[in-house]
Each structure stands twice: as structure tokens, then as C-alpha cells.
Symmetry: C2
Subunit: 338 residues, 2 copies
DNA sequence: CCTGGCACTCACACGGGCCGAGTGCCAGAC
DNA sequence: GTCTGGCACTCGGCCCGTGTGAGTGCCAGG
């Protein structure tokens, strides 16, 4: 029911508002965009758009600004994803190629994404539960003290200390290590619980307790929600949204520090394809005036984790989406190589 | 040459200003503190303090606020370190005791410190170069692809991928792993270079190249400045310094994101005892209106890394110093236990 | 050396007036 | 039916003058 031109007007409003951060009026619109009609006509269109809830006036006799619903329409129907320029692509690749380990990859990705989008970047570590086991190591630190080290195909390393009730001999340890690895290496972490289920039975009575302890610690580290880690960066970019923002920035910073909240936020994003959540579409209170652009990344087709940016609803969606998508692809490549 | 009372006046000014965040005048001082003299006398004292550069007026006919030099005097001569209450101590211990691995310890410490001081917390991971080797693990991921895993006595785990020129046999690998460990386990990381120096010579011609590669990667991970990692938290607390702060907060957030800067900052702190750097004493530009309170922590007497907080020069120094010191102690304990 | 008094200085809050961008509505043109 | 130009109206932001109060410096006297 919205005519072609009215959509065009909405697009123009979004673009101008994103650029200037100021409510945009009918006259300014006709000047900056070749709409082919007069301000008066635009005014009628704007009134219609306002009736439908796509735009709003901050106060009477001011220009209009897009509402969350307006941005939603813009993202869904009016905006494409802006591909990056080839120098940008090259810069990304060069920058990511220098990473020495997974922490470094994630760290670089965060910085890159923050710089590229000039927004807050959030990168989740590859989830354990979506990875496969590369190796399980067991070390004796003391007679009754072990360290368990898990290594995934994505290069993630997790370690845990284990206190055993009874001393555990070196041969038993080597035995357990070997059997554990022969069962789980190359398998998905989600399958590990049933793969090791009957392992204690094959050990001598004396060692069963310790073996069970080791396995329970192993399983604990795989609990979803607990095992997910992430890194954020670019928070200084929050200060770019001038004026009023002491009130705006506080809850956002608070939300960003709550990794649980962020993980939930990313978790809500689709596994494949890009997800854009605008303003009040975000469940969390502190983030109702921000948008989240998230996408899964992985070494193969499947996503092993997600990354994205958090910014004001008033953001450059096409550009941001382009950057997020491109970075996710390159990170996937890097991960596949390691 | 500053009389006892003038010092008392300075202390009162600092305390009031820290509490109210507003310039403090002579009358308010006499009302809130039992100085036993009249406002007029205080005015004279304040004029003297101003001449000496300990306090300043933001504008004529306003109260005085402490200068960096004033805070310095306050910290050095007027303020003690305020010990935490015992419920606080208990809370710290409980909170830190739940940590499952080093990342968790560091993460919890950051959150704890941020909450306790209501400021930005910075915690450095135990430095490799100040730790001793607990274990070195070498895994074959592919015939010509190895993973090196370093584990320190403080629970830190670092991994690196190694691409070898030639395939490296399973027996050679086991051999190298064993010899490496027998030489370095229990030794300080700084000694590792010379301990492994002659290792390639004892291998067959074919394997020497790979062994050298492994060793060079090992040595690379020990390079200072590169190996240092840290975690920050509590940035939302920056928003508590009202009014003017868009201009204030931006450079601080930027500085905090530059881990290199922070590491240098912490590096400048004394190894033992607490270091307080006030305002312009900080070399970095973005931090000239903040103070840094830092202290080393470690499992024994020796510091393996540092932690601290970054806040406005207008901070509660005694309380902050107390919290920082207490947290450092408990973290040291936790580390010693693992 | 301390004190009370006094004149002075400013930042800040308040209120009025002006300006301009922007709007809604309407009558007329295409 | 749709677009257009015109017109009256609204209201936030800016400028400015005024008043107020906190705070100061100085000085003469105890």
C-alpha cells in the first residue's frame, strides 16, 4: 500500500538522518534527493509514513526521524549489503593473516571490525559444542593433581585443574590419555559424553574414581552457556553519538560488560545469513536504542560461532552489514587454515 | 613550611571534593570539619595552598579544587590505606574461589575490582617471563604440522601452531617432548633460551631443522612486550563522572583499548608496594585527568604481574588503595593454590 | 595570628523576545 | 486524482538582560 515514491522518501529520510544525525524536513529532502516532486507533496507522503509508524517527529515542528519500524523496512526492502572495496578486503586479509594463535585471531578480528564499522565489535570464540576434538591432554602436576587440556580443531584451548581423591599412577594416566584420545579425537564435542560414558568400567577398581572425576570435569567444560567466551572492542566508538549520550551510553556499556547478555543476544541471531536486530527488537533493556548486526562464521559451511557489531539504531546498515559479512568470511578462512 | 592546620585544610578539601565533585569553599569547610577556626582564616590558608600549587580555582569566585600536586601530597602524607571490612574480605574470597581456570580467575578479578572500587579495573595475566615452566606439550596435528603448548606454574596456557618443512616422526616427537620437558620443567622461562640452546645438535640430521623451528617458535612466545596479556572491565563506571565527560571519557576509552599503552602504564609501576600515578604524572595523553593505582601480585613474594584501577584523579584514594591491595593478595593466594 | 565585615566578581538560572525550520491544510492547476 | 504553491501556526534554540548567591580578597581591629 506504500507507493514506490513513498518508499523512496523513506529511504531518503533514513540516509539523510544517518548522515546528519538531525531530523530531516521536507524541504531539505527535495534539495538533496532528486525526487521530482515539491516539498508539499513530500509532506503528504511523510504524513502517510508517519501514520503507518515508519517515521516520527521528536517534537512538533521538527523534521522526521525513522522509527525502529522504519529502519526495519529500510533494511528488509530498501537497502542492499554494500560490498567492501578491494583495498579494504586486502587490508582485512593482511591484518588477520598475522595472527599467531586463536586469541590473537579473535583479538585482531575485534579490532578490525571496530575500526571498519566505527562501532562496538563483538566476537564470540568458536563454540566448543560446535567444534570437533583435536586432542585431549592429561598432565600430572602432583600425585593427586591433574590438568586437563582440551584442544579443538578451531585452535581453541581450554584447561582445567582436577583434584583427585587418590594418587593416579603414571601408567594409568598414559592409559587414560591414550584411550580418551582414541575415542574422541576427530569427533564432535557434543558426542563426547556418550563416547566416554563406559570408560571407567574398563579401569581397575582403584582408578575408577579418578577416571570418573576426570570425565565429569571434561563434561562440565562442555556445558553450553558456560563454555562460550567472547571478546569486545571499540567501545570508544560509543562516544561518537554526541549530545544526550551520558544517559544513552551507560546502559550500553553495562550491557556490554555482561557477557551473558551478549551471548544471549548473539544466540538469538540466525545460524546462517545475517541477522539485524533493531532497537526494541532487542530484548535487553539497555540496548533498546541500539541495533545489533550479527552473523555466524566458521571454517566450513557450518557456523562455529558468531560475530557482529552493536551500534546506534541510527547506523549505516548497508556498510555495516558489508563489513560484518566480509570479516566473518575471512575469519572463517583463517580458522580453516589453522 | 606548611603548618599542620594547612595540611588539615588540604585533607578536608580533598575529602569534600571527592565526595561532592564540586569546588569547595571556605564556609562549607568550616561547617563540615571541626577545624576550630573561622572561614576567614581558612581563606588565608587556602590562598597559601593555592600559591604553593596544591589547589586551584576553576574560575574566579568559585571554590577550590585540588590539583594533581595536591592529590600527590594527600596520597603521600595525609592518607592511609583504608582496610576493607571483613564482610568485604569474605566476599572477595568466596567470589574468587569459584574460578575454574586462569581465564576465569582473571575475569573474576576484573569484575570484582571494578565492583569494589566502582572504577575501571585492569588485570594483567601472569607474565610468562616471570613464571616457571610446568609443562611443555608438543602435538602432531598433521605430519608436518605441530602444536606447541606451554603451561606455567600460574596456570597460564599458551599455544602456537608450527609448520615444519619436513614431516616429523612420532618417535622423534616423543623424544623431543621428553628432552624438552626434562630440561625446562620447573625452571624459569627466562632461563629457557640457554637451557635448550644445544638441543638440535643431539638430534639426527633430518630432524634438526624441525627441532630448530620448534625452538624458535618457543622462544618467540617468550618475547617480552608480546607475551603480556591483560583484561579490563568496569568501563561503565566511567560514566559516573557526570557533566562534561563526553570529552573526558573518549580518550580514556581509547587508551584503555590500547593494551600496549596499559601494559606500559602497569610496567611503570613499582614491582612491590603500591604505585599511584596522578593525572599528568601519567605519560599517556588520554589519561592526564585520571589516576592509576597499581600493585604487583604473585603466588609468592615475587610479583608475576600487576593489577590496578584507572579512575578520575578525583577518586577515593584510601578506599581504592585498600581494595586494590586486598584483591591483589587474594589473587596471589588463589594462584599459589593452583 | 585570628576574626568579622565589606565590596567585588562571576557562574548560573530565569524569563522574554526573536528567528527560522518545519508542519498541516486548503484551494487551485494539470 | 494527484500534485503544487501559499499561508498561518507551532515550537525549539539562541541571544540577552537581570537577579541571585556562593565565594573571594582585603583590611582594620582584637
Amino acid at each position: 500500500m506504500l507507493s514506490e515514491r513513498r518508499l523512496e522518501v523513506l529511504r531518503a529520510i533514513v540516509q539523510d538522518y544517518v548522515g546528519t544525525e538531525e531530523p530531516v524536513g521536507s524541504k531539505a529532502l527535495t534539495e538533496r534527493h532528486k525526487l521530482g516532486v515539491s516539498p508539499a507533496t513530500i509532506r503528504n507522503d511523510m504524513a502517510a509514513l508517519e501514520d503507518e509508524g515508519f517515521i516520527a517527529q521528536p517534537h512538533t515542528s521538527a523534521g522526521r526521524i525513522p522509527t525502529d519500524k522504519g529502519y526495519r523496512l529500510f533494511v528488509d526492502r530498501l537497502a542492499g549489503v554494500k560490498p567492501l572495496s578491494s583495498p579494504e578486503r586486502r587490508a582485512i586479509q593482511n591484518f588477520l593473516d598475522g595472527a599467531v594463535d586463536l586469541d590473537d585471531v579473535v583479538g585482531r578480528t575485534v579490532r578490525l571490525l571496530a575500526q571498519l564499522t566505527r562501532q562496538v565489535a563483538v566476537v564470540q570464540y568458536p563454540s566448543l559444542t560446535r567444534s570437533t576434538v583435536r586432542h585431549v591432554e592429561l598432565l600430572a602436576l602432583a600425585p593427586a593433581r591433574l590438568m586437563l587440556v582440551l584442544i579443538t580443531d578451531t585452535g581453541r584451548v581450554e584447561q582445567r585443574l582436577i583434584d583427585c581423591q587418590a594418587p593416579f599412577g603414571e601408567t594409568s594416566l598414559a592409559d587414560l590419555r591414550a584411550r580418551l584420545n582414541s575415542r574422541v579425537v576427530g569427533r564432535r564435542f557434543t558426542d563426547v559424553p556418550q563416547l566416554v560414558q563406559d570408560l571407567p568400567e574398563s579401569f581397575e577398581q582403584d582408578d575408577r574414581g579418578t577416571v570418573s572425576t576426570v570425565l565429569s570435569v571434561l563434561l562440565e567444560t562442555l556445558v553450553e552457556e558456560t563454555e562460550e567466551r567472547l571478546m569486545i572492542g571499540g567501545t570508544a566508538n560509543l562516544t561518537r553519538f554526541g549530545h544526550d549520550f551520558p544517559l544513552t551510553i551507560r546502559p550500553v556499556l553495562e550491557a556490554l560488560e555482561e557477557h551473558v547478555v551478549l551471548l544471549k543476544l548473539l544466540g538469538e541471531a540466525k545460524d546462517s545469513g545475517m541477522t539485524v536486530r533493531i532497537g526494541h527488537e532487542n530484548a535487553h533493556e539497555g540496548l533498546t536504542s541500539t541495533s545489533v548486526v550479527a552473523v555466524g562464521y566458521g571454517s566450513g559451511d557450518e557456523a562455529v560461532a558468531k560475530l557482529g557489531v552493536v551500534g546506534p539504531t541510527r547506523m549505516d546498515y548497508p556498510g555495516t552489514m558489508g563489513a560484518v559479512r566480509a570479516v566473518a568470511r575471512y575469519v572463517g578462512q583463517i580458522l580453516a587454515e589453522s
